[in-house]
């Protein structure tokens, strides 16, 4: 959802960090996108290319690390991996799950020159 505006936010973060570190060019940007985050990866890649044009990160390589959705299963008292909200626990099939991770999108690091 809103990948274009998310890409704009990424650009701001990248620009700010690059300038603060005296970069002339950003070679690569690594994002971490959780499986449970409301972000569509292909749309994100497209939006990134469009939005970075003209910035220090123009033609930067985009690396997306997808991280698994994690949830605490109340029945088996452990953290399990889930692909989507609403999925049952892979171990015990319970739906009593509390999402604990994989629901965020972050700019992890950039490679600058």
């Amino acid at each position: 959802m809103h990948e274009m505006s998310l890409a704009e936010s990424v650009r701001e973060i990248v620009d700010e960090t690059a300038r603060a570190n005296g970069a002339v060019r950003v070679a690569a940007v690594r994002l971490e996108i959780g499986r449970l985050a409301q972000v569509e990866i292909d749309a994100m890649k497209f939006a990134f290319d469009v939005v970075m044009r003209g910035s220090l990160a123009d033609s930067a390589r985009l690396e997306i690390v997808e991280c698994d959705g994690a949830a605490w299963c109340m029945r088996c008292s452990q953290t399990v991996l889930i692909a989507r909200r609403g999925d049952a626990c892979p171990e015990c099939d319970s739906h009593q799950l509390q999402v604990t991770g994989g629901d965020r999108m972050r700019v992890m690091e950039i490679e600058i020159e």
Partner: protein, 571 residues
């Protein structure tokens, strides 16, 4: 486009604003703004900021010479503040006659600070040049490199350029100089042979790697929705300090939110004061209906926007100024998708689903039902006319969110209203007690009036978020370093061991030790290239934000556990 949601050209309008200068910004907020620009050169000036409500901000540009540029910012910007100044300067370099010099300054300031950011640009360039009318043109730049350029520089730089950037860069100031003469300012090269010295220490890494450009990785780890979340946190703190119980009402269009609100206000009249923030793309119909009940309401029109965000609510809070110990209802834009991802600073999201919508909605829109604390199943008076399976709907909702409380209501007949009102009263009572407790231990007293405060110089957390860690007025900065180090980490480590939280989930991010260590260690690192990052406004709050986030989650989970143990489903 709306910086938050990317929807069209968001012409967000918050009703009731008296503007000296109505600005609708790229980020969708409007604010008032007294500008005094007294200067000649073409000064293109685009601001994007999510502003503190009811804040005046005056930019004073005093220009004496062709290029005298002093910024005074005594205000808080929650957003990056990009200034683009296209100057055409009377800047003769003398090597080519009457050369116009397009001097592009791209300043990116992450203004999460409330101090005076009086820019003094030590424009080394000017000074160095004045030293050396040397035939070889040999001169030393601020970054230590020297090079020879065989040209004459009889410079008169009327270049009074007071900007001081405490930024680390190879070049002392964050400028891209589009100079007409072949004069490289990004000095990463070793000097001309035969000049007497080779300087490799000027590059960003401070050293040389044979055969490689000085590429390096810069760790960021910033949440994309960090900006919205930071504003939401401020909203939440303000609401909490004032004992205001705030609810974010979400649903698809036509579920009956507004009618339900009108009924709710009528029932609470005389018992609890209620204020309402209404969100719609267009019209003030909803706010008008609320006001007809006697309760204060403020309409936010998002234009093409599809949800309310924290910045809009911050502005609205400033204008609406809900009374202490009151209830604030935020009726979000009718949309079962987008509002789920945008924290406004509310105590709870309440999802309103009407029986005419189908019992499969919780499965179709899981994010929204997962984010809510309470579901109001509305229009139950119509059940005899529909084939809606209430039990299946409840089961579906619980599948997505096991701890979801559910109340069946009819705004038209009044069925179930008592349970809904009781839920509100419980929450309002808790908010009131929390404020009373805080009043006794005013640890965040400085946030009590946050949205209306004109002077944020006293806010210690803002000051230390500045990008200039060396500044004297950032004596508060060490506090942040404290927050980033051991005591909080110990708390985080201790939290999962609490007996009553034995089943508390541990966020996978927190469980990964290396990240925490990096954050805890960072402020102490002596490396100049990285130290400012840690103090960088965007990254510095990472540690305490996570603490607040974890505390919030812990509170949420405790509540959910309590509900699971003794479910309170009221039919």
């Amino acid at each position: 486009m709306c910086m938050t949601c990317g929807c069209g050209n968001a012409e967000v309008h918050v009703e009731g604003a008296e503007h000296k200068h109505t600005h609708t910004h790229a980020d969708g907020t409007t604010h008032s703004h007294a500008h005094g620009h007294a200067h000649e050169p073409a000064h293109e000036h685009a601001h994007g900021h999510a502003q503190e409500p009811a804040r005046e901000h005056a930019h004073a540009y005093a220009q004496e010479s062709a290029h005298d540029h002093a910024h005074e910012h005594g205000h808080e910007h929650a957003l990056e503040h990009a200034h683009e100044h296209g100057h055409v300067l009377a800047h003769e370099h003398g090597h080519e006659p009457a050369q116009e010099h397009a001097h592009e300054h791209a300043h990116e300031h992450a203004h999460e600070h409330a101090h005076e950011h009086a820019h003094e640009h030590a424009h080394e360039h000017a000074r160095d040049h004045s030293q050396h009318p040397d035939a070889t043109g040999m001169h030393t730049h601020a970054d230590g490199t020297t090079h020879a350029r065989p040209h004459q520089h009889p410079h008169e730089h009327p270049h009074e350029h007071p900007h001081e950037h405490a930024h680390e860069h190879a070049h002392e100031h964050a400028h891209e100089h589009a100079h007409e003469h072949a004069h490289e300012h990004a000095h990463e090269h070793a000097q001309e042979p035969g000049a007497g010295a080779l300087h490799y220490g000027s590059g960003a890494a401070g050293t040389s790697a044979p055969g490689m450009t000085q590429a390096r990785l810069v760790l960021i780890e910033r949440d994309i929705l960090g900006k919205n979340d930071a504003i939401a946190r401020r909203n939440r703190a303000w609401l909490s300090c004032n004992g205001v119980f705030a609810l974010n009402l979400v649903s698809s269009p036509g579920s009956g939110k507004t009618t339900l609100l009108v009924r709710t206000i009528e029932h609470l009249a005389g018992k609890l004061p209620v204020a309402v923030i209404e969100g719609d793309q267009q019209t003030t119909f909803d706010a008008d209906r609320i006001r007809a009940t006697g309760a204060p309401a403020l309409q936010i029109n998002t234009g093409k926007g599809c949800h309310l965000d924290a910045a809009m609510v911050e502005t609205a809070l400033g204008r609406l100024a809900p009374a202490a110990d009151s209830v604030l209802m935020i009726e979000n834009v009718g949309n079962l998708v987008c509002p789920a991802g945008f924290d406004l600073g509310e105590a709870h999201k309440v999802v309103v689903l009407s029986v005419t919508e189908g019992e499969d909605k919780p499965l179709k829109y899981p994010d929204m039902f997962h984010a809510a604390s309470l579901m109001l199943l509305n229009k139950v008076d119509l059940l005899p006319h529909l084939s809606f399976d209430v039990e299946r709907c409840v089961a579906n909702a619980r599948r997505i969110n096991p701890g979801l409380e559910i109340v069946q209501v009819s705004a038209t007949t009044g069925a179930g209203m008592d349970a809904w009102l009781a839920w509100i009263e419980r929450g309002a009572g808790a908010a009131r007690r929390q404020r009373a407790a805080k009043a006794q231990t005013p640890q965040r007293a400085d946030l009590a009036a946050a949205p209306q405060r004109a002077d944020l110089a006293a806010a210690p957390q803002r000051a230390d978020l500045a990008a200039a860690p060396q500044r004297a007025d950032l004596a508060a900065a060490p506090q942040r370093a404290d927050l980033a180090t051991a005591p909080q980490r110990a708390d985080l480590a201790a939290a999962p061991q609490r007996a009553d939280l034995a089943s508390a989930p541990q966020r996978t991010e927190f469980a990964t030790a290396p990240q925490r260590t990096a954050l805890a260690a960072a402020p102490q690192r002596a490396d100049p290239a990285t130290a400012p990052q840690r103090a960088d406004p965007a990254t510095a709050p990472q540690a305490p934000d996570d603490v607040a986030e974890l505390q919030r989650r812990v509170a949420e989970l405790e509540a959910q556990l309590a509900r699971l143990v003794s479910p309170r489903v009221v039919h």
